[in-house]
């Protein structure tokens, strides 16, 4: 074999110098085997390139446009749950369910303490609708309007993570401090259907922050989540859209 695959690959890619290129171009004319080997290289190249070509025409997600314009600085992403900003954070990786859960949980203890003193009267927050449980009142209001990134810390309902489920609907985990109930609600039609609820551990155990979102809620999250939890900007965008299902 006069020309090895690496040489023919470079020929197919237009990477050879003029002399060798001319030599192979001439050889191909009289050598069908050689011509076929070059053709295989070209076909593979166009198949690989073609597989990803369509990405160029896809609409650009808002979060990437913002990031490209420098609107979303990494330091902002660490403040999603209003923890004190640190002077230098490592690059923000997308948060995993358990990280969100731990962050949300670590806020609960303080909230529970203040809640005892300032909490409003407990009204109906879930009603049966058909065979589903639907959020109402304070809970529905919090699910509709509350952003984890703008949390004050004294809300009766704490929103934890917000994410897109595999069916395209948005889901949000919540904790109602007064009843020590944690749950997961997903947007269906115009309602928040409560997909799972569980009791939050007693305050003694809550110092173990990661244990505060009960396993039942965590597994309800993990069985539905498509990708990772939304960051602050995506959460806000989803709220602006009225929680309409992502395309």
């Amino acid at each position: 074999m006069k020309y090895d695959d690496e040489t023919l690959m470079a020929y197919a890619d237009g990477e050879l110098d003029a002399k060798l290129r001319a030599e192979i171009s001439t050889a191909i004319v009289n050598d069908p085997t050689l011509a076929r080997r070059v053709e295989h290289q070209r076909a593979l190249r166009s198949r690989i390139a073609g597989a990803f070509a369509k990405v160029m025409d896809e609409p650009l997600p808002e979060r990437l446009l913002d990031a490209a314009r420098g609107k979303q600085m990494p330091a902002e992403r660490g403040k999603v749950l209003q923890f004190p900003a640190r002077a230098s954070r490592p690059p923000a990786a997308p948060w995993r369910v358990r990280e969100w859960a731990a962050m949300a949980a670590s806020l609960i203890l303080g909230v529970l303490l203040s809640w005892r003193m300032f909490g409003p009267s407990h009204s109906e927050v879930m009603v049966a609708s058909g065979d589903a449980l639907v959020a109402r009142g304070t809970l529905a209001n919090a699910l509709d309007t509350q952003l984890a990134s703008e949390r004050r810390g004294d809300e009766p309902v704490l929103i934890g993570l917000t994410f897109k489920a595999r069916d395209g609907n948005f889901c949000r985990s919540f904790i109602m401090s007064v009843t020590r109930t944690a749950g997961l609600a997903c947007r269906v039609g115009g309602d928040w259907q409560v997909a799972a609820t569980d009791t939050v551990s007693a305050s003694g155990q809550m110092q173990q922050a990661s244990s505060a979102l009960p396993p039942a809620i965590l597994s309800a999250v993990e069985s539905r989540i498509d990708g990772v939890a939304l960051d602050a900007d995506a959460e806000r965008a989803a709220q602006h859209s009225g929680w309409s299902p992502a395309p």
Partner: protein
Amino acid sequence: MTNTPEEVGERLVELLPRLRRFARSLSRNQHDADDLVQSAVERAWRHLGQFKPGASLASWTFGIMKNAWLDNLRARKRRGEVALPEDSGEHPAVSPVDTHTSLWSVSEAMNKLPEDQRLAVAMVLVEGMSYKEAAEVLEIPVGTLTSRLARGRAALAAALTGDDGGNPA
């Protein structure tokens, strides 16, 4: 730097489609790919001071993305990360509607390549970079790039032979 932040921003916006395409060829699914693009452009902004005027912003940003991708892979390995839903392969980098044209299998075959070969293939075959430019972005000699590319191609040809998308090898 003579560029204003607005100019840099607009040039990065222009690069986004290519950055997304490149990321898609490296990642297992669309969400991971866009996360990679986002962390790359955020890094670009943070390290803008290191960008040499006159150099190619595209090459520089692709290099940043390459590093971000490798960092992610290493971090995942360090954590011994359990497969999360987005790693399950249910949301592949190309749309499932493309499976009949076997684009899905291209993505699957890419994912089986060793990291260095996947980068070489992604830069030259997907992004259409010259060997010289790809070697500069990867910070390796052109000869090394060429041999990684040849090995990656051979593996792809073998993996894709016999399915319904053609017979490249």
